[in-house]
Subunit: 236 residues, 4 copies
């Protein structure tokens, strides 16, 4: 492996480690739940959390590096059992650089309820250009077969008409959210924000079951002040 | 700038910094959400959080100082994108010295539900002399135009018949609360208390959907034992 | 004052300080909310939190000591504005040695909803020999008059047929809980447990609106294994 | 007692201590609530938390060691008042090595509501091969008699057709969960996970009262990828 790839890979490993620890620090994962990964585009190398390792014990060296086809390149441990889902997402969504998966409380409740999260306020509109989508439940044959790979397929089908850069997360029906971003750390931040939005929406609909989504004027305003060529939120 | 103004400005900066950190410490804001500001009356200088800077990294020197018309006086960063809303409030409510804006969980749920918070107990009555008001949703033209400025306008319209000293916060419909007080630190404390009141009211109405507000006798008693000439709560 | 009274008073002061800090540590109170007191029976001296002092700044020396009629004996600050309620309880319930008052989230929600807390499980039965009672709302004349004193009166009326040793707390309608015990520290622990019971009951009735209280056989069993001559919980 | 038994017992004591502290660290127990135990199979010695001792003060030496018939072997304190329930479980379920009992918030709410927890998602399916069962309420005679022993009996009756290795916890109606595992530490982890599942299910059914359990295909897939001969989750 060339020296510069090794440097990039070492940086990727550190960033994926930090992303995993962010999930833990924010209380989105307990014990060995959840996982975050990142990809080195060009080389198509993916670093991901090993399976079944508790966060308290996780070190950057424990991460497993694989090719886009799943072949192991570095690391002695088994990768996360959800690896195949991550790989499908990296192949289907060429602009993403990181994926984070949690079973965070409120996002999982919406996924279990089989309901997309409607856009009820500007917090949501700041990050998603529409409702947070939920997948169609998978047929038994897909579950019995290459389950984790097919979970990725169910997500990709749900995005047939959606832009993954405008919708950086999905709820897998009866399961939990998968989130992404330009790199592993931003994917982990999306996971935190999806949980926050899901929790706000839960309390809103239990307070007012007949609540309507905000207007498209307000939705567009908030999404576009943070995204796209005319954004003015944050520092230039 | 005269020496004494510089001293006052340095003190303001410190107080606005503390107010922002109080929002963070109490769990009302995550990442770069929310913002607090304070004003130096007489000089009409406003210090506010810069846009998109995470609280963990925030230092007093990062605060941006502007005139009441928004012209930047000190600081290298862009001010909070909500600055224009703060400025409208400072101009319309001459007795306030600080403003705090958060997307705190329960206050935001009421704002998203489009419901004012009824006064269901003495905790609420200690701080507000009536329900916590909610604004009327803004028309598309106001959203597409000077949105943050017009958000301030929607708040001011809602206060046409309300005294902002007796109602130190408002819920912006489909958005979140704006809170104020005699200075930035008290504005931040109001933000904490509004969240507490919103959370109590949420649990009360989900426990008893038919609950009535407390009597005006009890409401007046609690509000007036903490406010006005005959107050007897706290130290003299 | 005799030396031994001074020693006892110093011990009382320390215990009341600890009780107040326990309320803070357990998240039952924010800022200056709530207060705990203790009494030196025989001398009839009561130590209580000063009014409007934040917990972070509270020191044992700040506590105010008064006689049972409210006359100040020690301390430079005003006592808690709820002092008169505490004094009524000490006079009416001769076996109690401490009182704790909070606006804790779930107990306050039940108080605001005007509902007594039914005994839905053994956690409740371990501490209360029946539902946690709620007072009748006070008439306007009692609110406008000696309000805090009359709040005590409303509690005492509610206990006309209840034994305060078997029911160590009450919900004041539209306000919040008052709790008591053999001393200030146990009163504070009751406040923690009342919040826990209120929170469990909230989640139970929102899960099953038609839930029935547990059987009197189970209720008696749990209450009596912790209280009375045949108790066998804890160390002898 | 032979040297090697003493060594094994010392190890058991340490593990049971850690299990109890895990319940405390994760916020499942307050004050003296709850208890965990472990068994040395072959010797049939059980180590358990003493009754009424707060977790902050608990040391490994405080644990009480008893035989399977309840006779005390080591320790000066009274064992947990729930000991008899633990002993019934160790006798009836020969493959378990640890038991943990808590009054954790959401699991207790389901127990108080008298509802089994349906399997609404993969988090649940990862640990239970069906709904989390609830016992039938005990008749008054069983409550008045050997109550804690009979609580164990009610659990065992509920498992007449269930495999305790595929269902590592039960909700005792009107009371709270009992959990188990191959040793005390895993039993405590099950208690943490049961609380997580109960909380997810609470938020799911309050979001969608008509929600259906996940398909048996998905349920089987998740349970079997973590359990049994073809498991592939975690490290080999």
């Amino acid at each position: 492996m060339a020296m510069e790839i090794m440097d990039s890979l070492s940086e990727l490993r550190q960033q994926v480690y930090e992303a995993n620890m962010e999930l833990h620090r924010r209380g989105l994962v307990i014990y060995t739940f959840g996982n975050a990964s990142g990809i080195l585009r060009g080389e198509d190398l993916v670093a991901i959390k090993p399976s079944g390792v508790p966060y308290d014990a996780l070190r950057p060296a424990d991460l497993v590096v694989v090719k886009l086809d799943g072949t192991r390149v570095e690391g002695n441990m088994r990768p996360s059992s959800d690896l195949a889902t991550h790989l499908v997402l990296y192949r289907a969504f060429p602009h993403i650089g990181g994926v984070a998966h949690t079973h965070s409380m409120y996002a999982t409740a919406w996924a279990q309820a089989g309901r997309e999260i409607p856009c009820l306020g500007t917090t949501h509109a700041d990050y998603f250009h529409g409702p947070i989508p939920v997948t169609v439940p998978m047929p038994p044959g897909e579950i019995a077969g290459e389950y984790e790979h097919n979970t990725g397929g169910a997500i990709v089908r749900r995005f047939a008409k959606l832009n993954p850069e405008h919708f950086p997360a999905v709820l897998v029906s009866g399961h939990a959210p998968f989130c992404w971003g330009p790199n592993a750390e931003e994917a982990a931040q999306v996971a935190v924000i999806v949980e926050e939005i899901a929790r706000m929406a839960y309390h809103t609909v239990t307070l007012n079951a007949a609540v309507e989504p905000i207007s498209s004027a307000l939705h567009d305003k908030h999404f576009l002040r943070k995204h796209g060529p005319n954004r003015y939120y944050g520092q230039p």
